[in-house]
Amino acid sequence: MAQAVAHDQKEHAAGGHGHGHPPTSLGLNSRKVGLWTFISSEAIFFTALISTYLVLKPRNIALGGPEPQDFLGITLTAILAFILLMSSLTMVLALHAVETDNVRGTRLWLGATILLGLMFLGGQVYEFNKLWSEGFHTIVITEPDGKVERIGVAEHHLEEELPHLQAEHPNAQIQDTGRKPVTWTTSLFGSTFFTMTGFHGTHVAIGVVWLSIVLVMSLRGAISSRNSLTVEMAGLYWHFVDLVWVAIFTLIYLI
């Protein structure tokens, strides 16, 4: 807050968009200040979701839930991450085009961003579908001394894993509780994973709708460098959604 005073009363329009604005007390565009505040709030929303995933992860494993790395393919998410990064690039190119009054470029890059967003959503639908079709088995190992251990084994690893487990616990009673699909409700992993990525996907979808509206406005000739803020705002939101995926990609998929 200290620099608050120093920056006060700066009468230049740092936002620099549009004309004839009466100066605001920070010299900033009000909508942009509001959007950044909202993005800040959203950051905490996603942090709460990601933290939920992370703190429940050990419980999921201890209870014999599915091991995330057995199901989350790095290749697919790397492609998804690449798509979103690419869309961030097309987004800034769209903003650059609108700032230089390049109408065709604006439409082209906005369209590309929307397309990449849709590709991401498609990838996510594919991933969700694939997970739902897969299964895991909770193996309950009861040692002679009564100690109980639960291990989640992916369906596709079951045949190779079971002999291992038998070898590791020669005297234990090993019980397979049967196949469960990897869905929203069958394990903490499913609950936390689908909730978190689902909310992220919802945000991507909202971003796609927002960008589509901007594209329609552009097609109607309602977007120019005078109101490039319209594009910039949608872009800020879009980059933020990308940013969330940067975090999810690392914390959930890679670690």
Binding site: G18, T24, S30, I44, T52, L188
Partner: protein
């Protein structure tokens, strides 16, 4: 649709429907503030009736006035109503009216969004309250501890807590949007010369509160959404029997819940910081300390949440850490107390109702603060947790603090808001009744908690030493009710008989006293030059007395150059905020009955919302 910005009332020949339409479509921060205040007062009375019923039940041992289930519902709704539907919106309402005036703006930064926040608040409140009629009122406590709130446990299996979850989220959206609006208004719409270190302390407090809302609410949003999934979709985030973790609920809830306490109390700090200098005719002592200690309290407020959970077994290290951070908060709070006392010291005190409430605020809040420090010490907390000691503590903070601060603010700003004074005679009566009733109700709770009366328990056995003081508390609660009734009477009488105050009845020094009472739609005809923290005192007592043209800061972000050529640009009234809010509420009812056709409710609700969003977007593009 009406096409021009409507000036404040002066209805006269206008029909009743036109007036109602004006209020429904208003985007004027002053009218929205008034709507907030009256709606919140209605909920305050409702939540108070809940409390009275609880107190009647507890007046005598083994009483059968309420069944245990109804008792559960009433204490849950009492807490939820008072926190989300009374004190918060009272703060927002006062802030809505006063903050733009104080910073010299002619409205909030986003007037339509402001209206949307109000309608979401109203509909969210109606949504929650409708549980009395069409369902079952929430019954698992205002902090909705899972798994009790998730699978009901011993409670009847109803959709009561779905009402709570969805209602809280509608109110949460309202709060977050409102908070963003306050932040942008305060940061960006200050009049020329209104530097940060000249901002009134009430504005500082509202700024910090807005940040707290923006950063704290996402946590309860996530928590309550997960709870909804647990209740309706078969997940098990908080269900220990299926591996979930009830502690997760508690942490997510209190990460919100503790800052929420400051969201409730900081505006009262701000009000007191405005009232004391005016009524002791002397500048505030330690302006910077008060302003920055608000910021410090706000920030530290995010590091202490688990002091609500000492007894659940986090272990000694976590308990010690959260105890230490909690104790640290008493430092910036103490700084404020001493600054207020120093402001009063040596001032020529003008003992009017606002100052009565202000002085009582210090007295009562210090008691609540000290018991708070006690509760921040784990060994003491082990003994007193979930007892009436805790109930006594937080009522000293929230009733003795927030409510007393708000009453100080009402008596102080009522003439500005309505152009009528509240009666001083009734005000003093109201004050003493409230002061006596408040202490009679809540002081014995400390003792009863110490000797073992548990909170949230519908009755107690005779012969445990609880009888006498419980009866006294009930009498105290009735005295509070009488006091509130006198306030309402005062409000009603003031409309006709209230003294006409003039622009500046208290010899105020902040900008709202430089305009008429009530202010015109555009707030200021002429704007005093702001060269200090007390521009209106400069004007009245300074050497250079001049005005400037008010600056049209609201239109920032607009692209239509023509609009700025003549005077102040006020956005036209809009019907879309209420549409959008209505759509979200319909979707909320859809979520409530998700397994009996509620999906259609969601679809219809979202469609209505879309109409609102599209309408607002096109209006925003036009101005």
């Amino acid at each position: 649709m009406a096409t021009t910005a409507v000036p404040v009332p002066q209805a006269g020949e206008r029909s009743r429907w036109a007036t109602i339409w004006e209020w429904i479509t208003t985007v004027d921060h002053k009218r929205i503030g008034i709507l907030y205040i009256f709606t919140a007062i209605a909920f305050f009375v409702w939540g108070g009736i809940d409390a009275l019923l609880l107190r009647i039940q507890l007046a005598a041992p083994e009483n059968n006035f309420l069944s245990p289930q109804v008792y559960n519902e009433l204490f849950t709704m009492h807490g939820t109503t008072m926190v989300f539907m009374a004190v918060m919106p009272l703060n927002v309402g006062l802030g809505n009216f006063i903050v733009p005036l104080m910073v010299g703006a002619n409205d909030m930064a986003y007037p339509r969004l402001n209206a949307l926040s109000y309608w979401l608040f109203l509909f969210g409140g109606i949504f929650l309250s409708s549980s009395y009629i069409i369902g079952h009122p929430p019954d698992a406590g205002w902090f909705a501890y899972a798994p009790l709130s998730a699978n009901g446990g011993v409670l009847p299996k109803t959709n009561a807590m779905d009402f709570w979850v969805i209602g809280i989220n509608i109110l949460g959206v309202s709060s977050i949007l409102g908070a963003v609006n306050f932040i942008v208004t305060i940061l960006n719409l200050r009049a020329p010369g209104m530097k940060f270190n000249r901002m009134p302390l009430f504005v500082w407090a509202q700024l910090v509160v807005a940040f707290l809302i923006v950063f704290a609410f996402p946590s309860i949003t996530v928590a309550s959404i997960l709870l909804y999934f647990d209740r309706n979709f078969g997940t098990a985030f908080f269900l220990p029997e299926r591996g979930g973790d009830p502690m997760l609920w508690q942490h997510l809830f209190w990460f919100f819940g503790h800052p929420e306490v400051y969201i409730l109390i900081l505006p009262a700090f701000g009000i007191i910081s405005e009232v004391f200098p005016v009524f002791s005719r002397k500048p505030i002592f330690g302006y910077a300390f008060i302003a920055y200690s608000s910021v410090a309290i706000g920030f530290l407020g995010f590091t202490v949440w688990a002091h609500h959970m000492f007894a659940v077994g986090m272990g000694p290290i976590a308990n010690a850490a959260f105890s230490a951070t909690s104790l640290m908060i008493s430092i910036p709070t103490g700084v404020k107390i001493f600054n207020w006392l120093a402001t009063l010291w040596g001032g020529s005190l003008n003992f009017k109702t606002p100052l009565y409430y202000g002085v009582a605020f210090i007295f009562l809040f210090v008691i609540g603060g000290i018991t708070g420090v006690m509760l921040a010490i784990p060994p003491l907390d082990y003994q007193t947790t979930d007892s009436y000691f805790v109930v006594g503590h937080f009522h000293y903070v929230l009733f003795g603090g927030a409510i007393f601060g708000l009453f100080a603010g009402f008596y102080y700003w009522w003439p500005k808001m309505f152009g009528r004074m509240l009666s001083e005679r009734l005000g003093i009566w109201q004050f003493w009744l409230m002061f006596i009733g408040m202490n009679l109700t809540f002081m014995p709770m400390h003792y009863l908690g110490m000797i073992g009366q548990p909170r949230r328990t519908w009755t107690y056995e005779a012969g445990m030493g609880f009888e006498f003081w419980n009866l006294m508390e009930t009498i105290g609660a009735l005295i509070i009710a009488l006091s509130v009734a006198i306030f309402l009477l005062n409000v009603i009488l003031s409309r006709r008989n209230g003294e006409i105050p003039g622009d500046d009845p208290w010899d105020g020094h902040t900008l709202e006293w430089a305009t008429s009472s009530p202010p015109p739609a555009h707030n200021f005809d002429k704007m005093p030059v702001i060269r200090s923290r007390r521009p209106v005192w400069d004007l009245k007592y300074g050497d250079a007395q001049h005005f400037t043209e008010p600056r049209d800061v609201k239109a920032a972000g607009s692209t239509d150059e023509d609009e700025h050529s003549h005077g102040i640009h006020l956005p036209p009234p809009s019907f879309y905020p209420i549409i959008l809010a209505f759509g979200l509420t319909v979707a909320g009812y859809g979520l409530l009955y998700i397994y009996s056709g509620g999906v259609w409710g969601i679809v219809i609700g979202l469609s209505i919302m879309w109409v609102g969003i599209a309408g607002l977007a096109s209006e925003a593009a036009r101005d």
